[in-house]
Amino acid sequence: MTSNEAPGTDDSASKVGSLPFDVTKAHQARSYDYLLGGKDNFAADRAAVDEQIKIYPDLVFTMRANRAFLGRAVRYLVGEVGIRQFLDIGTGIPTAGNTHEVAQALAPETRVVYVDYDPIVLAHARALLDSSDSGATEYIDADLRDTGTILAQAANLLDFTKPVAVTLLSILHAITDADDPYSIVATLLDAVPSGSYLAISHAGPESFTAEAREKLMDSTRRTSLQQYTLRTREQVARFFDGTDLVEPGLVPVEEWRPDPGARAEGKSVYWCAVGKKR
């Protein structure tokens, strides 16, 4: 199942550029905030999420597991691989354990460029995501599909002759096939040198019954500004063309290098992997 499940009929959602500040429809960033226990969300976000949790109770677990994956992946990239530059696209509303905090706690000189297109993220990020003394953090207000703008502005802070980790967590499923997410990821990978890394988490359809899937899609069509395209494990794997996946490969987010002693309290629907560019 791919784009045939995603309606893509909402013109405003497929136009490249910043999202409108709309509190009558659920936004992904604010819904995510609600799922993580934050207070920067609105009635429409909560209503949409509550409806979706009824269809899929492990949604809360999935989002928390995804956030935890972010932390482990960044720690791995900074601590074990030695990456000092991040291009984090799909920042979301800042919460505990943002990429630059995790990274700069290990290596204060790490540079992080955040990218998002939601005005609520812009409001928070400009004020809250500032850098440690030696490192640096920038925020770019741009749509993932506008890779030209992203790469041009990111070059102000990042040195594209040195390895960069590109992180695309919980964002590519908001890109329909019509917008060719594979070429978006390829363009980003082309801009970084060999030895760079790509980290992705992405919602998959495998754990849903056909009925639950249809219900979820129907729910987001009615309630949400962004529409989602679930992609299978094989489809997610294709994003990593040109990279070698690090252990343990492409797995559910809670199974990617779990902390010792950690026990998953649910089953997520997110695939994830980290790949090293050849």
Binding site: F21, V23, Y34, L35, L36, G37, G38, K39, D40, F42, A43, R46, V49, D50, I53, K54, V60, P94, T95, A96, N98, E101, P119, I120, L122, A123, H124, R126, A127, L128, D130
Partner: protein, 300 residues
């Protein structure tokens, strides 16, 4: 509004613990009593009748605005069918702890009740967001600036009273130097930086302090230059206080001449969150704001 997300603490990037202030304990107590009442499907009217109080008193109590006699709380628990001794004891303990005196009780003679409430909320908050159209936010005022503001509001007050008011204002700033200070995120109209409250010399020192404060960890200042045109807050100054506890809603606070308005209904709060987010998007970044303040200092 009911949430189905498992309860836990707000993973705000702010401090992990705020002091167990009486005000916030009262709010927590109120939230618990409301949950128990709703679970027992008892109306606020009926609950009020049980303790010879009005419906609105129950509602003020459930939002933590007023305290309650321990005896009344016991009666309410019985009415709500809470018979388990352990569960009752928990609620009663919370109620007793919420009755301990606060540091500002020594200023009772000059403190109107509505401001006392604010002090409680302010010292319990983990995040204070603030939009100011006229004055430097209270938490960042120098003593001289605070004195000038106080005199504006209390022109006939005798000198000792003015001094006590100034000391109270300055004492509030202690929350910024406590072990886990709140995050203060203030947005100021350019007018705040230009209006020489207390005269040029006082304002000059105040601006220097502001530029310094702006670089403290946990403090975010954003200015909105005149050049940015009309901004989103036709409303005037307000503050939004956020608490660590998941159960506690954000509270919007607006000071008026002789009283204050508190909003904690979600629809109202969300309206202000929307505005403050827009303002934040329109305003200069914290780094540019420091440069902007330095520019204003040079020009004045």
């Amino acid at each position: 509004m009911e949430t189905v997300v498992p309860s836990g603490e707000t993973p705000d990037a702010g401090p992990e613990e705020s002091p167990a202030e009486a005000t916030v304990l009262r709010m927590l107590l109120g939230a618990q009593l409301r949950r128990l009442r709703e679970a027992a499907e008892i109306s606020a009217e009926k609950a009020g009748y049980e303790i010879r109080a009005s419906r609105s008193k129950i509602s003020r109590m459930e939002t933590g605005r007023v305290g309650l006699k321990l005896r009344d709380i016991e009666d309410l628990l019985t009415l709500y069918g809470v018979t388990d001794e352990k569960q009752r004891a928990k609620v009663i303990t919370l109620a007793s702890r919420s009755r301990e005196p606060e540091w500002w009780t020594q200023y009772n003679d000059i403190l109107p009740d509505w401001f006392e409430t604010y002090l409680g909320l302010e010292s319990a908050a983990v995040t204070i967001r603030n939009f100011e159209t006229q004055f430097v936010p209270g938490l960042f005022q120098t003593e001289d600036y605070a004195r000038a503001v106080t005199r504006l509001g209390h022109q006939t007050a005798p000198e000792p009273e003015v001094e006590r008011r100034v000391r109270l204002r300055v004492a509030r700033q202690d929350i910024l130097s406590r072990p886990r200070p709140p995050r203060v995120w203030a947005i100021m109209d350019e007018a705040v930086l230009r209006r020489p409250v207390g005269g040029a010399a006082v304002m000059h020192t105040q601006l220097l302090r502001l530029a310094e404060t702006a670089q403290q960890p946990g403090v975010r200042l954003q200015a909105i230059p005149f050049a940015r045109g009309g901004h989103a807050a036709a409303s005037g100054s307000f503050s939004i206080l956020r608490f660590k506890e998941r159960d506690l809603p954000d509270v919007v606070y607006m000071e008026q001449l002789t009283s204050a308005v508190y909003l904690d209904q979600r629809a109202d709060v969300e309206h202000y969150l929307e505005i403050v987010n827009q303002l934040s998007g329109e305003a200069l970044t914290p780094a540019d704001t420091v440069r902007f303040i330095e520019q204003v200092i040079k020009e004045t």
